[in-house]
Every structure is written in C-alpha cells, then in structure tokens.
Symmetry: C2
Subunit: 150 residues, 2 copies
C-alpha cells in the first residue's frame, strides 16, 4: 500500500458527500458514513437497497434494511444520488452526479451511463410558472438473441 492511499483528498466524492451531509443538518452517523463510503468511493455506481445490504454483510457490518432505505431517500433529497426508474419492481440509485442519460440493457437488467454530450437533445422552453426538474432519457436495448425468441 503506497503512502498516497491515505492522503486526505477534500474533493473526493466521499468527502464532498460527507460535507453536504453535515451542512444539511442531518447527523453523519456511522451508518450514513458507511453507506456514503460504499456509494462514493467506488466510482459511478447503480445500486439497489438490496445491493447495499449485501455489501454491508460482506464487510461483516450490520445496517438494517429500514436504515438503508431511509438513507437512500435522504441522500436523494440532498442531491447526492439520483433515483432512476427503469422498471417497476425495484428502485435503482445512481451515484453519478454529472448530467447524463442511461442505457438500459433490458434482458440483462444492466444499466450504463451515457454522457450528455453523446446525445443531442433539444427541448422547447418551459413556461415561467413551471420549473424543469430533470430530463430522463433511457435508451432501451435488447441483445439480438433475446429479441429473436419473440
């Protein structure tokens, strides 16, 4: 392990998240810090509550499912993560904060980010009484073989 491994980087995704948590007034509890580490120290991720629970278990820690759900919602409302809706039966959260779209491989259930610059999208202007919250673009693809079987 090089000495650089432990250099404190105030601008790491994790430290930025931690500061936003503190600034927002919610407490940076142990559970929240552990989950923030998982979410923000592994690059851009797409996770479900279940994924996180499994990961917590693998590290021999213990955080309840209720807390994981609460935390995901809090992080979402703080703007740390983004909820993406690709299918009805499971909530997916995306840790990529840069503006981007999604590529969803339906038969694999896998999702990938598409940088905004790779898709050109022009939408009409929004009336003054309304605010644009977000634009979700999900490009849904299937592998050919899956498509063939009707």
């Amino acid at each position: 392990m090089s000495s650089e491994t432990n250099v404190f980087d105030p601008f790491s995704a994790y430290n930025i998240a931690l500061r936003k948590i503190e600034d927002s007034g919610i407490r940076p509890t142990k559970q929240r810090r552990v989950l923030a580490k998982m979410l923000f120290e592994k690059g851009d991720r797409h996770v479900t509550a279940e994924n996180l629970l499994d990961e917590v278990k693998k590290e021999n820690r213990k955080i309840s499912m209720a807390t994981i759900y609460n935390t995901l919602k809090q992080f979402t409302s703080l703007g740390l993560i983004r909820e993406i809706v690709v299918d009805q039966n499971k909530s997916l959260y995306c840790t990529n904060n840069k503006s981007h779209y999604h590529l969803y491989i339906e038969d694999e259930g896998k999702i990938h980010d598409i940088p905004t610059k790779n898709i050109n999208l022009d939408i009409p202007s929004i009336p003054a009484c309304l605010t644009l919250h977000n634009i979700d673009v999900i490009v849904r693809i299937r592998s050919l073989k899956d498509n063939k079987k009707k």
Copy 2:
C-alpha cells in the same frame, strides 16, 4: 345522436386493436373487448390498472383486478399499449401508438404526451449485435410553488 355515431369504421383505434387481438391468437373475450373499448375509444390515454377497474365499476360491469392486470400485460406485448415508468409505485399504460415522449408534472402526478417532432434527439448508432427497443424521454417538471417549499 347522429346516425354517424354507429357507422362502422374499420380503422378506428378500437377496431384496429380488435383485429390485432384476433390475429395474435388470443381470444377476443368479453373482458378484453370491454377493456379495449375503454382504452381505444377515448383518444390517447394514460391509465393505471386501478383507473380501469374504477371505470369498469362506473359502467356497472365487473372485471376482476387479476384480469385487468393480465390484459394490460397482453396488450403491451401485442404492442397495443406501452408501459411507461414514471415512478416506482404504479404502472402507467399509454394508448398513444405514435412515437412520442412524455412530460411529467411531478407534484400533480399528471403525464402528457410530447410529439416526437417537438424534441430533437440524436443518439449514436447501436452496435449490430443489439437492437434498439425504445427510447424513453421523460421531461420532469414541477410547479414553482411546489419547488419553493424546499
């Protein structure tokens, strides 16, 4: 009521749907015909299973929820309707068969179609081994007042 009301139009959305049902091999049962009428004789609609059940009740008919769910799935796989995923907790089905995007007013839970021509979207070409299934574009807006209350 003018006599034209009962003129048979083989190209009405309902009759087209009915033919697709027959052609596909599934039986045009009473329930399926009633639901097809509700879906296709009222212009472009966005409905949930619950909406349809309520409508059925209002007409003093009775179709079970299980049948409504089954029918919505069958109609979707026949390509008669399209499932749109705006939020995790309820499936919405859209009867507009023309290519289009969606405008979702988050604080009202209302959804509207946006004709494709009003949005310019350029996506990169898809590798030959994959098929593009669909591109969902959901423009999410909020009314200003809702936005203010943090």
